[in-house]
């Protein structure tokens, strides 16, 4: 269990500069959440919202004004009881946005820096160098100097170095922010690997919805120095805040099981995965999603994570012809507060929630076929949903 209750005030100025100038505004952030471990907690919010200050405070590199940090029963900080474990004894591995590899050490000695100290401190070292270099693909880099690495390679080494310090908690401070899109995808893939292989609890800071949707098991939304919502990703509430500000809307995240792999439609191109999700007394729904190019990294039976965006769901009162789109199924339009068009301008204003087999899909009525536009859906009405497109986000982390 990760338990965090913090009030952090942070004046933004470079550490070694002279006295803070009047332009250095103090940021005050309050947050409070409980998340089960292992798992990935994503602190989500716009850039400059002070999320990084929270990470520094949890790592012990910044002193919070007050609060409590408890990781799996181990108290790292408790202002009430006067407990403040120094950063070097917290065993929180941090991956910074800029990597911060030690320039005078080669990759191998960078990786070993925390490992050597963890062993010296007498802790068990269950995460070994060969295993980490294997998972993160670091073998060819071991003898290289940090400045010869690409941005993506640097972040992989930083990730490996933090892991090898045998952390009880891994802190990722916008680890992808400094990378271009291609590198982002590469490092994100490795982050998923680390999440699933090592099962070290992680707290991850990001302003990218896509990153959060692929990585998180638990989301904490922060805006204006306050915590707006904190919940498991799949149960995340209706977005809060003004439209366009920091609404967290990853679409519907669906976890399902890979039940079949079909050949590509025209004989060439990527293979099609059939993922089954559902339960709760309804017939399970089968989604068809294109696998990426290259060798298929999944096996039958694997649990995968899919995403369906509201604009990719169409509703009709008649059944859709079979074999269209990604999936079609029958359900009931959910009633309930928040389903009416009360917040103009937001994607959600036209949203309708469709419940089927325990899946709650949101459909944007504005994208419905011409025949359905303007049709009013009321709660409790039966409806047929067509998912025109869904997206594969990778492996679904173990259920905790």
């Amino acid at each position: 269990m990760i338990e965090v209750d913090l009030v952090v005030t942070h004046v933004h100025h470079r550490q070694h500069r002279a006295a803070p100038s009047p332009t250095n505004a103090a940021i005050r952030i309050e947050t409070s959440f409980r998340a089960v471990t292992p798992g990935v907690v994503s602190l989500f919010g716009r850039s400059g919202a002070g999320k990084s200050s929270l990470v520094l405070a949890i790592a012990g590199l910044l002193r919070p004004q007050s609060g409590r940090i408890v990781i799996d029963g181990e108290v790292l900080f408790d202002s009430g009881r006067g407990i403040d474990l120094p950063a070097e004894r917290r065993r929180t591995g941090v991956v910074f946005q800029d990597g911060r590899l030690f320039p005078h050490l080669d990759v191998r000695r960078n990786l070993e820096y925390g490992l050597v100290r963890a062993r010296r401190a007498g802790g068990v070292s269950s995460i070994s160098l060969p295993v980490v270099s294997g998972v993160l693909g670091l073998e060819p880099l071991l003898a290289r100097a940090p400045w010869t690495l690409s941005g993506g390679e640097r972040q992989r080494v930083a990730l490996g170095r933090a892991l090898l310090a045998q952390p009880r908690l891994l802190l990722l401070d916008e680890p992808l922010a400094a990378l271009d899109d291609e590198r982002k995808a590469e490092v994100l893939h490795y982050l998923q690997q680390v999440r699933d292989e090592f099962r070290v609890p992680m707290i991850h800071v990001s302003h990218s919805i896509d990153e959060v949707a692929r990585l998180a098991t638990f989301v904490v939304q922060i805006d204006g120095g306050r915590t707006l919502a904190a919940a498991p990703l799949t149960a995340f509430p209706r977005p809060l805040g003004d439209a366009g500000a920091t609404a967290f809307d990853p679409g519907t995240i669906i976890a399902g099981q890979l039940v079949a792999v079909e050949g590509p439609a025209g004989g060439a191109g990527p293979e099609v995965l059939v993922v089954e999700a559902g339960g709760f007394g309804w017939p399970p729904v089968r989604f068809r999603v294109a696998a990426g190019a290259g060798e298929l990294p999944f096996a039958l039976g694997d649990r995968l994570r899919l995403r369906v965006r509201p604009e990719d769901v169409l509703l009709a009162s008649e059944p859709w012809p079979q074999g269209q789109g990604s999936a079609c199924f029958e359900g009931v339009v959910a009633a309930g507060a928040g389903d009416d068009a009360s917040s103009p301008g937001s994607v959600w204003s036209s949203g309708r929630r469709l419940v089927a087999g325990g899946l709650a899909l949101r459909a944007a009525a504005g994208f419905s076929p011409a025949a359905l536009v303007g049709e009013a859906w009321r709660g409790g009405e039966p409806a047929h949903a067509l998912v025109t497109r869904c997206e594969l986000l990778g492996r679904e982390p173990m259920a905790y």
């Binding site: 002279a18 950063a87 910074f96 911060r100 030690f102």
Partner: protein, 230 residues
């Protein structure tokens, strides 16, 4: 170029004085440079100015101040002699002290720049990886500032070889004891027919100084290559 015994003595003495001078000032220079680079405290500007004073004061004035404080009857000099039997005036050790004071700002400057170039974030990273205060300094800060320390040592060494005013004022011009290269050149110019000796010694000190500068430049370039753009 064959040197007479007296000339050899002057060269050897200069090297000894400069080496001891660097050894004397190095620990203090590292400490002062670190404090100036990483700490904020009231009176920092004053300390900074004091450190740089030998750069702007006439060397004779520094020599005179040393004589006043470290002379046999000075407050510190008297105490040193009474307690340790240590005499600085008119000794080669005194010459080292004078050159150390004169080259101190150069050394502090070089070391301070190299400390300021170290990203404090690296030390924070080391901390999160389990390194305590002393461990961090030894494993991260020290190796990263080493190029600056080496460059500072080379510059201070070269400057110590050439120091004239402070040395002659504080410890006088005694052949074999305090007569370093520049002082020997000065003495040669004072004697009739000393021109050729002066020229030879001047050439020699020119080569030593040039060697020092080339060495420090080479060190800086080497380090830049090793650590990349940062």
């Amino acid at each position: 170029m064959i040197l007479s015994e007296a000339e050899q003595q002057a060269v050897w003495l200069s090297l000894v004085v400069a080496t001891r001078s660097v050894a004397l000032s190095l620990p203090l220079a590292v400490a002062v440079a670190w404090v100036l680079a990483r700490r904020n405290f009231p009176g920092k500007t004053l300390v900074d100015a004091l450190v740089h004073l030998p750069l702007v004061l006439p060397p004779v004035v520094i020599g005179y101040l040393l004589l006043l404080s470290l002379g046999a009857r000075g407050p510190i000099g008297g105490w040193l002699e009474a307690t340790f039997g240590l005499r600085l005036v008119f000794t080669s050790l005194g010459a080292s002290v004078a050159t150390a004071v004169m080259s101190f700002p150069l050394m502090v400057r070089a070391i301070r720049l190299s400390i300021e170039a170290i990203d404090p974030g690296l030390e924070a990273a080391a901390r999160s990886l389990g390194a305590g205060r002393f461990d961090r300094f030894v494993s991260i800060t020290l190796p990263l500032m080493l190029p600056g320390v080496l460059a500072g040592m080379v510059i201070a060494f070269a400057a110590s070889l050439g120091e004239f005013g402070a040395v002659i004022t504080f410890v006088s011009n005694i052949p074999g004891e305090t007569q370093t290269l520049p002082l020997a050149i000065y003495s040669a110019l004072q004697t009739p027919d000393g021109d050729s000796i002066a020229l030879r010694l001047a050439t020699l000190s020119f080569m030593l100084a040039l060697g020092g500068l080339v060495l420090s430049e080479w060190l800086a370039r080497r380090v830049k290559r090793r650590y990349g753009r940062g």
